[in-house]
Amino acid sequence: MNALYGFYVLIWPAITLGVLVVICRAVMRDRRKAKEEQRELV
């Protein structure tokens, strides 16, 4: 039960961390691409 409830609470910050990594990597890609195409990021 302890492990189950521990997982139930902590899985959300873990997913958040995953999404944060995905977004940060994607933004770096966006920046690179915008630079290559000589346009602004936004």
Binding site: V19, L20, I23, A26, E37, R39
Partner: protein
């Protein structure tokens, strides 16, 4: 842990925190600022915002201060499943709109607002109904976010509620005013990174500080049977179901979503919306778990105010540094939503009101920018005044909710079915609003024949919601089958039952009535079938753009419309 007061920052500390946040955000916008901003970019950037920036902006916009407080309240009230029944449905609002969003974008690739698309499809009356619903929604959102800032500042420092409201209002206006949507998207990314990083640290920190899994499991004895059940019917009926009904309405009625839909690179709409769905769900459900922790520990919300739950837990278990992080978390979330609301309101006034109804095809981009910036100033002032005086907006909330429900079917049908007419759109929304009011305020007895009448309409509304959701992902036939099955199920289970749940009955009535009237009037109309290809020709950019190095951008270099 039932301390009677929260940790208090000194006035100087809070002012420095706010200065650091709003000052840093403002400095960031200087990097993208242009002396002469472009009206189109002020509303939707360059229509080519990348996946990363788009997903960050979408997530940051959808998370507002109330998301944390309401998720924690849900966890505290409904127990184990409570945070999921708040965060999951809120997240699905983003997901369910994306198939329709792709259609909107295909029909009007250069639009700035959904209202422009509806104007090209139907004309002014339908467009202005949609614009009105968007404006009311954004003003309410602004007010709620400024209120949250005032409440946070007043509970964690000696500063007054009004001081918090005014600082937040001016802070957001300061960095959004010049570059509009571009500033909003740019700062959303930084705000989201801070918000996520803080959430990632705070949730486990509170969890282990309170004793970890063993303490949580031991505290489950304090829960009722329903609260301890992951499949609690109470949580589904009182928290999940009303949210589920609103899934499509919130997304259609919210210009902040449409604006990002028209701004993101068309090929990235799907990953952007899926990532935002997961990101929103994880952050909000995670912070909602703090409400569950409070429940298992037997914590009583200070002053009976559920909004104090998270501050209480953070204040009670973590050192001041974490409380400062929590402060930034809430200020970041409310500011990212407020700046999006300002950008949404300015786009509506620029494109829907000035561009389409005042300038009528001869819009001057410079004047548009002036309209947009003045709108932001007026909207901020209205938000600050409403929030400062704690005005009762319950009636406005009820009205806006009904309007959003009433426009869902007419808006979606108008983009897929070429027989829907302007008259059908407008009449269906007005009839739905009248019937909604009759049911919501029980102006007719909800018994006998009239009770049955509204239950049938509500059952149709239930069928429409399910049908549209399935249609979005699986197509027309699956949508019709799902709608028919949902309708039958609703008629069986809702008859002689739903009349006791006035709010749900009235909301579903708005969906059902607008659908019936819109379909019947469209079928009876002898108007020529609409050619969807004309929408793209009628909705375009306002500025004259020089062709960029990208081949695809040449298409945007057209004269002002």
């Amino acid at each position: 842990m039932n301390s009677e007061s929260l940790y208090q920052f000194s006035t100087l500390t809070v002012i420095l925190l706010l200065l650091a946040f709003y000052g840093g955000t403002y400095l960031m916008t200087l990097g993208i600022r242009k002396k002469n901003e472009d009206a189109d970019a002020f509303m939707v950037s360059n229509h080519r915002v990348g996946f990363g920036m788009g997903a960050a902006s979408m997530t940051a916009t959808w998370i507002w201060a109330a998301s944390f407080y309401a998720a924690a309240t849900s966890g505290y009230t409904y127990g184990v499943s409570g945070p999921i029944h708040y965060g999951l449905w809120g997240a699905l609002m983003i997901l369910f709109i994306y198939p329709f969003g792709r259609r909107f974008r295909k029909l009007a690739p250069n639009a700035h607002t959904l209202g422009e698309l509806i104007h090209a499809r139907h004309g002014s009356s339908s467009q202005l109904i949609l614009a009105l619903s968007n404006v009311l929604g954004s003003v309410i959102s602004l007010m709620v976010n400024f209120t949250a800032a005032g409440a946070l500042v007043s509970v964690l420092s000696p500063l007054s509620f009004q001081a918090g409201v005014i600082i937040a209002g001016f802070g957001v206006l300061l960095y959004t005013l010049w570059s509009g949507f571009r500033a909003s998207v740019m700062t959303d990314f930084a705000q989201l990174v801070a918000l996520m990083a803080i959430a990632i640290v705070i949730i486990p920190a509170v969890f282990f500080a309170m004793g970890g899994p063993s303490e949580l499991v031991a505290g489950l004895d304090n829960l009722t049977v329903e609260q301890a059940n992951l499949f609690s019917m109470d949580a589904i009926l009182y928290q999940g179901a009303p949210f589920f009904v609103a899934v499509l309405a919130y997304a259609i009625g919210n210009q902040t979503i449409s604006q990002r839909l028209f701004a993101v690179d068309e090929s990235h709409i799907k990953p952007t919306f899926i990532t935002a769905t997961i990101g929103y769900g994880a952050i909000v459900i995670g912070l909602g778990m703090i409400g569950l922790m409070a429940l298992t520990l037997g914590v009583e919300p200070m002053g009976g105010d559920m909004n104090n739950l998270i501050p209480q837990m953070v204040s009670g278990y973590l050192p001041p540094l974490f409380i400062a992080l929590f402060f930034i978390l809430v200020i970041g979330s409310l500011s990212s939503t407020a700046d999006s609301d300002l950008s949404a309101l300015s786009a509506i006034m620029m494109a829907d009101v000035y561009g389409k109804n005042i300038a009528r095809g001869k819009a001057d981009p410079k004047r548009m920018l002036l309209v947009g910036r003045l709108t932001m100033i007026v909207a901020t002032a209205v938000g600050i005044v409403f929030a400062s005086f704690s005005l009762d907006i319950l009636v406005m909330l009820v009205f806006v909710g009904a309007l959003w429900g009433a426009i869902v079917f007419p808006v979606i049908a108008s983009c897929f079915w070429n027989r829907v007419t302007n008259q059908a759109f407008t009449t269906s929304v007005l009839v739905a609003m009248v019937l909604f009011c009759l049911a919501r305020f029980e102006l007719l007895p909800m018994s006998g024949a009239s009770g049955l009448f509204f239950e049938v309409l509500a059952s149709i509304g239930g069928g429409v919601i399910i049908g549209l959701m399935v249609f979005g992902f699986l197509g027309r036939i699956a949508g019709f089958i799902a709608a028919a099955l949902a309708l039958v199920a609703m008629l069986v289970f809702a008859t002689d039952f739903l009349r006791d749940y006035t709010v749900l009955l009235a909301s579903l009535t708005a969906y059902g009535a607008s659908t019936v009237v819109c379909v019947v009037m469209s079928l009876m109309s002898r108007q020529e079938d609409f050619d969807f290809a004309t929408i793209g020709e009628r909705v375009g950019d306002y500025d004259t753009h020089e062709p960029s190095v990208q081949e695809g951008d040449v298409a945007t270099a057209r004269p002002a419309v």
